[in-house]
């Protein structure tokens, strides 16, 4: 079936299997492979995107449900001027090991900082509770969120 989604500001169309997830449409049809496919059951958060501004697991959204809606993926974050402050902070804080969970965590962390610019540790932990890092580098991820938060508030980036 034909599904039309506004992805990162541009209307994109794809002919998908009616049972396909938004994740599958993004990766397999639209070639946006920043959004990762891991558990396909909402456990790991690797496929996190924004659907009409809400953080969701794209594996749990039927592509047809996203028809006519706005999706933002991790690819929307960096601009020509450089990385998004959250991405830069993940690099600087060493919050990346194998890197597979990173796009989902960057999206979830950015979602948090949109809503709460200066979150304390416990708020960060809860906001990132739907994202798994199996290299278990969580402490540096927390450091990265604090770093990004500080820089974004200072307007240093």
């Amino acid at each position: 079936m034909l599904v039309r989604v506004n992805v990162n500001g541009e209307w994109r169309e794809a002919d998908v299997w009616p049972g396909a997830s938004l994740l599958s449409m993004l990766r397999d049809e639209l070639g946006l492979r920043g959004t990762k496919n891991a558990c396909e059951q909402g456990e790991c958060g690797s496929c996190s995107v924004w659907l009409d501004g809400e953080l969701v697991c794209s594996c749990l959204v039927l592509a047809a449900q996203a028809d006519g809606r706005h999706v933002e993926t991790v690819e929307s974050l960096a601009s020509e001027g450089g990385l998004h402050p959250v991405q830069q902070a993940f690099l600087d804080a060493g919050a990346v090991q194998c890197g597979f969970c990173t796009p989902g965590l960057v999206v979830a962390a950015s979602d948090l900082l949109r809503r709460e610019p200066e979150p304390p540790d416990e708020v960060i932990r809860e906001a990132l509770s739907g994202n798994l890092c199996r290299c278990t580098g969580y402490q540096k991820i927390l450091d990265a969120v604090h770093l990004a938060s500080g820089r974004m508030r200072d307007g240093a980036v």
Partner: protein
């Protein structure tokens, strides 16, 4: 496979009547897992995520109507005064899941581990169902028929739930291996009803469906009565009675051993959660009394 995408409840009910085999999908947090893993291949999927009638919360007099399509994140934001429900909503999955998952989904899946369900049982909520031929209301008890079984007819959709706002403190707590992303091993909702001087206790994940604990409810209400605590929340309720309340709650559980925990652990968990819940409720009542 075909996806039907109605934009009003009326249109959805007509489609449902024409395609009784259609699998409804709202937040997708259960249905998509089945599709992704090839466990289900429905001929027809009915997307109910765009029905405005299901996405409302209405307060009318002393009752609240909660649309079946309202995600848990909204419930936390819009119904913070429904403390037990807001607490249960916060324990659902993760932020991503709470942005999508709905109470209608908990009812549709009818898993005994659905976090909102013990709260609906303690609220004595009614489930509102609709079809092209009309609407009906069922008590939570009549709707939830067993493990993953409910009373939804093939031509019906779940419109929402309604309950009389209870006067008194309430709480929801659950046991799992971590705070986030867990399916409850055991859960307890306690709601105090100051109007009738009663307690309502509901259990999740410890039986084929949601269970109430009538003996514990009667015992607990009696203990408050004997202590004079209904009239004076500052009156002392004996600790051994609080522990006994927990034991009686556990006695109402009908748990099994499974991958998440043993029956014995679940029973013990019920006792601990129920005693704690009563302790919190008594503290909340004292705080209100000043």
């Amino acid at each position: 496979m075909e996806v039907l995408r109605p934009s009003s409840l009326r249109e959805a009910l007509e489609m449902r009547a024409a395609h009784p085999e259609a699998l409804p999908i709202a937040g997708g947090t259960d249905v998509m897992v089945e599709l992704n893993f090839g466990r289900r291949r429905p001929e027809t999927i009915l997307d109910v995520s765009r029905l405005p009638e299901l996405q409302v919360i209405r307060r009318e007099g002393g009752t609240i109507f909660l649309g079946a399509g309202v995600p848990y994140t909204w419930i936390m934001r819009e119904l913070p005064d429904q403390v037990a429900l807001a607490q249960a909503s916060r324990t659902v999955g993760s932020p991503q899941i709470r942005n999508r998952g709905t109470v209608g989904g908990n009812l549709g899946t009818a898993s005994p581990a659905g976090d909102a369900l013990p709260v609906l049982a303690a609220y004595e909520a009614e489930v509102l169902l609709a079809s092209v031929t009309g609407t009906r209301r069922l008590s939570w008890r009549d709707f939830l028929r067993g493990p993953k079984r409910n009373a939804l007819a093939p031509d019906e959709l779940i419109v929402g739930v309604e309950w009389n706002v209870p006067q008194g403190p309430g709480s929801f707590s659950k046991i799992g291996t971590r705070n986030a992303m867990v399916i409850a091993i055991a859960s307890v909702c306690l709601q105090v009803d100051e109007t009738t001087r009663g307690l309502r206790v509901a259990l999740g994940s410890v039986g084929p469906t949601i269970l109430r604990a009538p003996e514990a409810e009667a015992f607990g209400a009696g203990v408050l009565d004997e202590a004079g605590a209904w009239a004076d929340p500052r009156a002392t309720v004996p600790q051994d009675a609080v522990m006994r309340f927990g034991e009686l709650t556990a006695a109402a559980a009908r748990p099994i051993d499974d991958v998440r925990g043993t029956a014995a652990y679940r029973r013990h968990g019920c006792a601990v959660l129920a005693s704690r819940a009563l302790t919190w409720a008594l503290a909340d009542r004292r705080a209100v009394a000043g």
